[in-house]
Amino acid sequence: MAKVTMIEAINRAHAWEMTRDPTVVVLGEDVGVNGGVFRATAGLQEQFGKDRVQDTPLAEGMIAGMSIGMATQGLRPVAEIQFMGFIYPALDQIGNHMARLRNRTRGRLTCPVVLRMPHGGGIHAPEHHSECLEALLAHHAGLRVVCPSSPARAYGLLLAAIRDPDPVIFLEPARLYRLVKQEVTDDGQALPLDVCYRLREGTDVTIVTWGAMVTETMRAAEKLESEGVSCEVLDLATLSPIDHNTILESVVKTGRLVIVHEAPRNCGIGAEIAATVAERGLYDLHAPIKRVTGYDTIIPLSRLEHDYIPNTARITDAVRETLAE
């Protein structure tokens, strides 16, 4: 057991699984000698060699496409896209091939690839380095999208993603990479995919969130607790497919729902959750569903960044509004 940051947890998960499973191969830009620009793969090339930890040429489409070819040959590629904003050249391979290979060959060829990348803003980065594009990927049938919010979940969910026989897009909130440490046992235990994680039990309102926004949400929940409001906080964790059942079960109990995400509002994953609760849990609701999200703008550069990202105040206000209905 050790107290590790999310980056360290991700690193340990790689090391564990690469030791246990010789078919796991890491590739990406600067992942080998440099250990990844955030050091997620630090030390792995020394430990496992250049064939298993590869510095690739600079081409995201090639990284995604080559991973597909390798996967059909029985390897388990864990490929890094350096920032989510650079995923666009890889979308052809992701959407046209990665998500579909099992389906279009009726199971003859499969694609056990993990494509991991930093997610979201709040680190004063230059343009194009702060994107939250999970909705684009969630809209692809055949693709899983996962986003941990703590070192422990990063460790356990990454192991699950690597072991899953189908492609997983693994989004790592950059703002959380080193924000806190947590006791994480390096024992190779995976955590389940496709389920929410209840981080806080409550009775007055259900708040569903994921990624870096978990931090602000938990802070908001504490503040509201002191005002006598009992919040139930669910970390969505797997953004696609969504574990609607846990959310609905919670809404039956609380009757109120607030969804918090950093990504822009329009057509964000919050809309999918809200629509499903409206379809299947309408009669349990006491108030309209509320979403607290990034604005429908491009995420601004660092000077305005923290005005864009939903803060604790916006979350607490939204909860109070649902209670006032």
């Binding site: 620009v37 680190i123 380095h129 703590s150 924000l179 440490k181 929410c196 209840r198 574990d243 009669y283």
Partner: protein, 420 residues
Amino acid sequence: MTTFNLPDLGEGLAEAEIVRWHVKVGDTIAVDQPMLAVETAKAVVEVPAPFAGVVKLLHGQPGDVIATGAPLIELEGSSAAQIAGAAGPHGGTAAGRSKAAADSGTVVGNVPTSNDELIETAQAGGRARYAAAPGGRLRAAPAARALAKKLGVDLARVNGSGRGGVIVVDDVIAHSGIGTAAARSGATHPHASTTSATAQHAPSAPAFSDGGEKLRGLRRAMAQSMALARDTVANCTIFDDADLHAWREGEDITVRLLRAIAAGCQAEPALNALFDGNTQTRRLMPRVDVGMAVDTAEGLIVPAIRDVGSRTSAELRQDVDRLKRAARERTVAPDDLRDITFMLSNFGTIAGRYGTPLVVPPLVAILGSGRLTRDVVAVKDRIEAHLRMPLSLTFDHRCVTGGEAARFLAAVLRDLEKDH
């Protein structure tokens, strides 16, 4: 004079310890000239002067720990206002570029770093399947909730008539006593403006001076639905007696009645129908669901025995018992109170031979069965004492003919008079 704060020396480190000053108060220093050495968690780092100037004040001595962003040195110089700790290695000081600089752990921006520990509990979900709401929470349509709030209606006291017992707007209206009360089975549109002229106006002043007991719940529902029935249905009743001479010991009267109704409906489907007087449309129902009037302490309720034509006697008896028990305990589910196609009033278990039961729309018929008695009857030319059951069949003459009703009754009698 300008205060220079300890900059972020990379990796978002929280503090640094002063190792050694290279300058003293009064010195004139040039830009980039090393001012002091500080030790971070990783390395000893030189901090250069941000601009040229004269040293006015040092904010600490060797051994002191200075927090990132806290004042380090006061300089009197020509350029720049207060320089806060720069963000990130690319915007920072020469220290960030020195060989001894710690790994910033990023290639752009500034990843916030701290030693705070995250303590959390996380419970993986997905175990419980989503089922219909347990008894605890009220399920109500949003519009119903809003109306209830407006009218001051306590939702906990309202029976829901929507699917699965959901409380809908009409339930709130009915409960509040304002406006139209729709018939329970809901086959007609409760909003039809001509459904009931009687209940539209606001309640008038009571007839007795002390105000009396305001009808609520089942009694209120009965008052309203009977008024509706009286106002719209063309009630007509045929009476007859079933000769149960052939019955063996221990025949189940209720079950025989249910079976006989099924036989009657098979012979004359016109009596197992729903009729909407407003639109003058009739629907023959494919299945016979008999509402059995049950008297409870709170009033009359009519739970449904489903599909009496297809079920065995044992099944029917089970259902009857279940519903009677539920009625006593006031646990009849809303689903068991709706969608009936025919009504049975077995008042004879208490008293009364014949009656004129009222048809409740949108149904078109109701069979009343009276008290079984041993009657003197003429058989050929002999006098015998036979067990007989009086029957009173009321039908809605707007959409059922006398002939249909009579043939129905004939089939009921034939079935009842069988030995088993």
